[in-house]
Symmetry: D2
Subunit: 350 residues, 4 copies
């Protein structure tokens, strides 16, 4: 017999509630059920609540990040056992399809980003995780739990879509457009590769101050509309080696095109709802590379090692804590991020 | 005392003549003067004649491709001597600036694409070549001279901007949009990497027939407006691994976006005069890479080896021969390429 | 109730028999049982029979290559069904461990090379395949069955250990030391990358003649002890870009060191039983790369695509066919490969 | 008329003197003469003095590192002018030959390591630098001069031969065998890539203490002969991802083989006088990569950027300063490095 558990449920555009739901059960042999101990809210959840993500049906439990304790595993799960403390990847990977085997589980035939999207997610007391063996990671003994939650999505996203796709190398000049949690995750992980200059651009002076603390060597407030000129001046007219778009609108993607140097990389991280103008009439001869990517979360083991080695301190991204029972309050805080100086908010469950 | 030589001169939009000009002389110690034996006309020359390339001033001798015999070298030239038969690169490389040392001489601080653009070019009996040591290549003894002319520009362009930037690998499905000389050069050099499927798209059935002979495994005439549907059907709905844009207009760049598969590469080869729409709302999560490049011509030595080994037969691209004195006629033929079934036209000098 | 089936059994050094064995059954949920339709003998099987491979215990059914028809699958197998025609990989991959996820299933914690080694293999009427979903491949409808058998081991071995590790690129000069089946598989797949010169070295003129037919541009019989001098002369004293060792003895590895050019790659393919001398006193400053690899067989899908596209014709490696019931005769023929002009021998079952 | 200048001259095995020599003059148009302001002594100079480097003839002025001020340039030099403060690369690059254009000027047809080897070097008041445009770098205005000297040789050597060839990536476990100046240069630059564990092995506890200060996460004194066991225990029996050999003897190269994990990289940095044993019988199936390299010094611009950005502080390697006139005393100190706790010694000239 299953218990009733608390969960944050999407009720259609603009509507959500903390509802009672039956505790999730195993469906397939490769499933695990995990008792959530910490979860968080993502900018994507706010998009869903606006009704921008049509794959999310009303009634869906949101959330694709979190850590917890394995409660039950199916007969096909061999790498995890009841009681294991686990990190939940935002990307569910079957491990068998062509995409998984090409290292691109974001496009897994049966998985990808499904948690809190096409199946119930992690903003709940319990969650069912399909393909547990290839979608969970063991949390090391002495790990900082807040840090671990950052490894579900935002650190691999900043690292894979921004840093790896941007091909950052020592000595580079890197611009990150957008200093929200994802831009800051990119800022932290860009420093794995010893760039010489790290310019962060945003509209919010508070976030820019945080960026400075997190390692930016220069910050530019773009509200005056002079960001491109400022950055071109900072780079002696040459432009940057790498520009990361961490906002998700046409204007910031345009800024990346304005500041990219010959031979440079524009790495898109943002989620875009509309098309953008690509200035091929200027860029066709500039030897540039533009990349897009839905995070594959294949670098989670690597990131875990850097966190455990103390090279990366992602808990710095956490600004607020709430009990899971106060998740509606947490959403309010996160929804007013600028006013509340909020970055990532941790929800704890027992 | 310098002689008078014949040269094709741009006289402003829509105007050109075969004019008498003083034979070019050495200016800098690193210059060579080359007597042209074979040259050709590029699609870019037609753009210049339309007035589309503002860096080209009236009075300029056109042409950036060709082979010839070294007539005179400056005191700073150490690798070439009078009488050497040489291949002229379309890219002039100083070999010393940051861009040259990064392998990107297309953006050389003193060179790049300057021949037939900001300095006089190769459609003449003689041409001055700056930085001769790093901008010329020795023509091997038993080389096919027509093949050598193809190595000045169009083969490195197809190979670097299309094949290398597209990261073609064995087993791939590759689409080449545009079957003009550059698209066909990409078609020939794509076969270095054993793709499984090679789809060529064009509006002209004659060019598609040539593409078939050159190794295309499927051809699609896009005049009916169904190219994207056809290619998606050919690929079982997955899209292609690599799409090369070899036309230079927004519509064909759009087609590349329509047919690209998850994880795929769009390699732009075309010269664009206007911006294009980038469908980030669809592509942000598709893990794609888009590249642009002005040819660097750094692969010329490699391509020369494949030609001499018989692995690449670029003389297949040559459809017509004229004496240099008939260059105006040659321009007419090249200007009516579809009607004349013209690809590359060789102009011979003595 | 299980039937009795025929199998080639290793009975300790120097001893083997075609024995009756119980038909293998499923053990784990992720297993499949496959009815073998074609298998083959590998040079490694001869090593086992000499007693050189201590992990193989007497009583073991040999064989790690083959194709067949799925007879039964465990409850954890989702990608294959009874009746599917499948290609068996020589490498068993769990798909979940760190090594598998790094693309290195040769070192899979529960798999790797186990077939015909630590578990019963494919030289039998039936075989049990662990981790079937990630260790089998569907055979396409109209595939040549002999060609498919070559994809179990020897083509991925030549391609991964020789060609990919050797980093062959267009225009390269490549030397392959050893023209046995593995060296010839490397020869075939090296041509994916359009090398300019392809030199094959062996002691056997017959095999060198085959190498010529398979695309070698030069062959060198090393029995006279002048191979290094000959190759240095062929390369104008510069040495080769890539040297592949496909024999497995110190002398041939030494030859690779003698002929490698500055900046070159030595790709070891051979199985070595003893150490070799590494001439660091000559090589420390030559900017060379040496690689070793147990095949991971991760390129099987790619190779399958090139075979189906007609770019690779591996059935050319097959010289003999025997019914499985004549496998002892087939071993005799394979054991006298030089005299019998044998390369790969196919054993057919019904 | 040329002046007499002081220079450290090699007089045959075991013999050196601070001698009077005529000030060097321009020979070729591409030469510069540089007045040395700072130079240093390399371990290689000690090898030369032992008579180990046969290319160095008696009478040769030693030294291949240093900074200075341009005194005179030939007519073929365009990027430097009298009075420019310059960094001298240990590698002289013509910029035109095949090797230079492949990014491998260590093997430049007319250059490579020639300073203090086949032509007079930098341990003198003045030095002639061939191919000045491609063998010198401008010293930025506010640069630390001691740091700049480290960029002539030891930092690019540690970085290119150790870190880049070792393919260090975030989260890796890296072992550096040898904590002399080169090993420590590798230690500093390995940290560009955020390894999780950085183990340094040496016989000298003082150098290991320095390694700790420079970022080693573990140090192992190998004098007890238990280094391999210790490192295997530290890595849970898996071995390291990257092992760098920074000593140059067979025993330390052997240690690298003992500790390398499956899929790992052994990057040789040391100068070897004898061969080593390569344990192919163990390594053939371990998927490892071994590299050798004479430094190309192509990363000097990149390293300069990281130094100027404060990401790399190479002046930490400098333990002693002497005036150039005391260079014999400096050689004594450097020759007793362990006793004197000496790493790099700077010699200043005026």
């Amino acid at each position: 017999m299953y218990h009733i558990v608390k969960a944050l449920v999407y009720d259609g555009p603009g509507k959500k509630q903390l509802a009672d739901r039956p505790q999730p059960a195993l469906i397939h042999a490769t499933d695990a059920v995990v008792r959530i101990t910490r979860t968080t809210i993502c900018g994507t959840d706010l998009h869903i609540l606006k009704g921008d993500v049509p794959t999310v049906a009303p009634g869906r439990i949101l959330g694709h990040e979190g850590i917890g304790v394995v409660d039950e595993v199916g007969t096909g799960v061999s790498r995890f056992h009841q009681g294991d403390r686990v990190l939940i990847s935002c990307i569910t990977a079957c491990g068998k399809c062509d995409y998984c085997r090409r290292g691109m589980p974001s496009h897994c035939e049966q998985g990808g980003w499904i948690l809190g999207n096409t199946i119930d997610g992690t903003q709940a007391e319990f969650v069912r995780i399909p393909f547990a063996d290839t979608s969970l990671y063991l949390v090391p003994e002495n790990a900082d739990e807040d840090a671990m939650v950052m490894l579900s999505d935002i650190l691999p996203t900043g690292y894979e879509c921004g840093v790896l796709n941007g091909a950052v190398k020592p000595g580079d000049t890197v611009a990150i457009v957008g200093a929200g949690p994802i831009g800051l995750a990119a800022l932290l992980t860009t420093q794995f590769f010893a760039p010489a200059n790290l310019i962060v651009i945003d509209l919010d002076d508070n976030r820019l101050a945080v960026a400075k603390q997190f390692g930016a060597t220069a910050v530019v407030n773009s509200s005056a509309g002079k960001a491109a000129e400022t950055i071109m001046a900072l780079t002696g007219g040459k432009g940057v080696d790498v520009a990361m778009e961490a906002v998700g609108i046409a204007a910031t993607f345009g800024l990346c095109q304005d500041i990219i140097g010959a031979g440079g990389h524009i790495a898109n991280i943002g989620v875009h709802g509309t098309s953008a103008t690509l200035h091929l009439e200027k860029l066709w001869s500039k030897n540039i590379t533009i990349t897009t990517r839905l995070v594959d979360a294949v670098t989670t083991p690597l990131l875990l090692k850097t966190v455990m080695a103390g090279r990366l301190k992602p808990a710095r991204l956490v600004t607020h804590h709430f009990p899971l029972s106060d998740i509606l309050k947490a959403y309010d805080t996160f929804g007013n991020a600028a006013k509340e100086s909020a970055l990532k908010i941790i929800l704890t469950n027992k």
